[in-house]
């Protein structure tokens, strides 16, 4: 499920977590068990989307928790534990994916729209029409996941955080350690490239 960061105040949630954080810092076993049972599911979802693999997602979550346990003293309490863990698992999952990368990435440039004299070189075809012929939501979902997997990582990770995970640009920028404007630039280009990949997939054309 998508986290709705807008409905409850971050300040309230941060305050509500203070006792748990104290117990974590004191090395309370129960507190660690609570942390793990509360956040593992959500972290697995995120990690799976970033890595594209169940096994790698589990490894990434484990690595993320180990890193979090080691660094609990450095947790500054300015964000929620969920946000902090999210950032850690995203980074762990990205590292995992980068280490395992075996194929050359598709260049983003060839997936962006082409213009002649500033005007569309080709008439864009409506994705919606093709989608209606292609089936229901599961087909769409699988097509999106497969298309996402073809994007260069720097664009894929921004789309995963902004569109799939529903973070705003600022939170995505914090998670990725890049500027808000770079997130927006990559999101814009990434969406256009994803659009092209979806067009191809839904037309059944192998790229």
């Amino acid at each position: 499920m998508m986290t709705n960061t807008q409905t409850s105040s971050s300040t309230e949630r941060i305050a509500a977590e203070a006792p748990l954080i104290e117990r974590l810092r004191a090395g309370d076993d129960g507190a660690f068990a609570e942390l793990v049972s509360t956040h593992t599911g959500r972290m697995l979802v995120v990690a799976r989307r970033v890595t594209g693999s169940e096994a790698d997602a589990e490894d990434a979550v484990q690595e993320a928790f180990i890193s979090a346990f080691k660094n609990i003293e450095q947790f500054d309490g300015r964000s929620t534990l969920g946000t902090w863990l999210h950032r850690i698992v995203v980074n762990a999952a990205l590292m995992k994916r980068r280490r395992k990368r075996s194929r050359p990435e598709t260049s983003i440039e060839q997936l962006l729209p082409q213009f002649d004299d500033g005007f569309h070189r080709e008439k864009p075809q409506s994705i919606e029409v093709v989608t209606n012929g292609g089936g229901g939501s599961i087909v769409e979902r699988e097509a999106v996941m497969a298309a996402l997997d073809e994007l260069p990582d720097e664009f894929r990770e921004v789309i995963v955080l902004r569109d799939v995970e529903g973070l705003d640009s600022k939170s995505a920028a914090e998670s990725l350690g890049i500027s808000d404007s770079l997130v927006r630039q990559r999101l814009h280009r990434g969406r256009q490239a994803l659009m092209k990949l979806l067009e191809r997939r839904m037309k059944g054309i192998e790229s």
Binding site: L44, I127, Q192
Partner: protein, 94 residues
């Protein structure tokens, strides 16, 4: 620069190119495009079916990616052995 309500300039050419229009899409959809550019974008959309289709596809693409995130079937059950392994790793001082 002289503007017209039609989306064409005084020479009858489109006021802005499709490429410029595409550059505006994200800011337009998020409501942060300045008023002047917003009006220009909207005039171009009135005269360019290619850009209309392109923007619709762009919105659809974002919506499809958002649907993936909202899908309840996407939440995997948490493997008990994973939870155990994580807590064990902590005990062993990793």
């Amino acid at each position: 620069m002289m503007t017209t309500p039609t989306g064409f300039d005084a020479q009858g050419k489109p006021e802005i190119s499709c490429q410029a229009c595409v550059d505006f899409i994200l800011d337009y959809l998020e409501g942060v495009l300045p008023a002047r550019e917003k009006a220009t974008f909207e005039r171009h959309m009135n005269i360019c079916p290619n850009c209309v289709t392109f923007v619709e596809n762009y919105k659809k693409t974002a919506a499809m990616a958002q649907t993936v995130g909202a899908s309840p079937e996407d939440a995997p059950p948490v493997p008990a052995k994973l939870v155990e392994a994580i807590l064990k790793a902590r005990k062993h001082g990793h």
